[in-house]
Symmetry: C2
Subunit: 242 residues, 2 copies
């Protein structure tokens, strides 16, 4: 199964203090862009792959989703998701997304936020999501951007002239990248953009929107520390349709 770093105490402690953990969707700068890519959840059957604290599940329920299933591998996160959710249309289940299987075509929308870069068998997961969606059903996800992930030693650098740059190396070398983010030894899977998109296409999806996420001018004005996100994309947002 995929590494369950979220149940590592140090990681969980760090993660629980991020603005996206404390404030939910409003604390995630990419949320407005992702939301614009989503169908309105009203009356839809929704599955959230890597639901974390359940912020998206509760939002979908508030928007009138007919059914919301939140899946996560982390026991600790699910505990908090359950404790924070009262809407009866939402159910949570612990699931290793690499082992998961769905009954045929039970969902109108599959959503996944910053989870798929932990998955080793992404091809298999895309195929399962495709089977889980009704024809015309949508998959919308965010994933760490290959530009952000490729380097063996990621991090801001300054060039000889003192300009801030992001290093890219090892781009074609797909596979695990180990970083020390919140905890040591967090393992993510680097793939090229082509691979991510071709796996979707190979699973039967039609790609409808691709976005190398960057902050808007208004977001940078409100939170100047976001300016560096315009230099290189940290997140790739993708919408696809069965």
């Amino acid at each position: 199964m995929a590494q369950n770093i979220y149940d590592n105490p140090a990681f969980f402690e760090g993660y629980s203090q991020l603005s996206r953990s404390v404030e939910g969707l409003a604390g995630a700068a990419e949320w407005p862009a992702l939301q614009a890519m989503l169908p309105k959840p009203t009356n839809l059957r929704v599955v959230d792959l890597g639901c974390g604290y359940g912020w998206f599940c509760r939002w979908a329920a508030e928007q009138g989703a007919a059914k919301v299933v939140g899946l996560d591998v982390s026991e600790k996160m699910l505990e908090r998701a359950v404790a924070s959710t009262s809407d009866p249309v939402v159910t949570y289940a612990r699931a290793d997304l690499e082992q998961l299987d769905f009954a045929e075509a039970g969902f109108d929308l599959a959503y996944s936020s910053l989870t798929l870069h932990y998955i080793a068998d992404l091809s298999g997961l895309f195929e399962k999501i495709h089977r889980a969606l009704v024809p015309g059903g949508k998959l919308v996800f965010s994933i760490e951007h290959p530009i952000y992930m490729a380097s063996m030693h990621p991090g801001w650098m300054t060039d000889a002239q003192g300009r801030k740059i992001w290093p890219v190396d090892s781009y074609q070398l797909e596979g695990p990248r180990t970083t020390n983010w919140l905890a040591d030894g967090v393992i993510k899977q680097h793939r090229t953009i082509g691979t991510i998109l071709n796996l979707l296409i190979g699973a039967g999806f039609t790609i409808t929107h691709v976005e190398d996420w960057g902050p808007t001018a208004a977001q940078v004005a409100a939170r100047p520390e976001l300016a560096e996100e315009k230099e290189r994309p940290m997140l790739l947002l993708v919408a696809a349709q069965r």
Copy 2:
């Protein structure tokens, strides 16, 4: 109209000495990957946008294409294309791709090699190509990769540990990039990957394959200088269908 750098004497002189100019398709390391994305040209009506010396047009004709139209803005390149081509199915025309218009649906395949990053109105061109293709017709192109193009000061660097890296900055700042490649002041248009793909989707295309091109192990063995192309992609290859 787009900058016609190919008729700049210094640029033309330098360009004419590149292996892709001397050896044609065999001198372009990305050609096997592009070829794998192409339909077999036999009996197809083909248009090449930015045909240069006509290497692709002659290849398509040799493969039995029913009609091949090569378009280029460079008078000098077209002169050489015409002088090098005897197959009567091939015709060349001088055209500024930004001013171009096609009659409806006359082609089965549109091809473009390393030309579209010179185009300011890419949206308009994709729409014209879409109209020029029959339903089911294909567009296959290569374009300089946004990772390669984004930086205001592109070029290999070494980090503090002496490791070779490629800088990325200014990724979200779309628009002109001026470089001194073969001649001073060559103007290219940087776009994010999302923008390139969304313009295609917006023009009515279905994306069928995306490849951040890198050399194969066999290519690196034969030409060790290609190894650095595995560190960061220089070319983006895309196949789409009307």
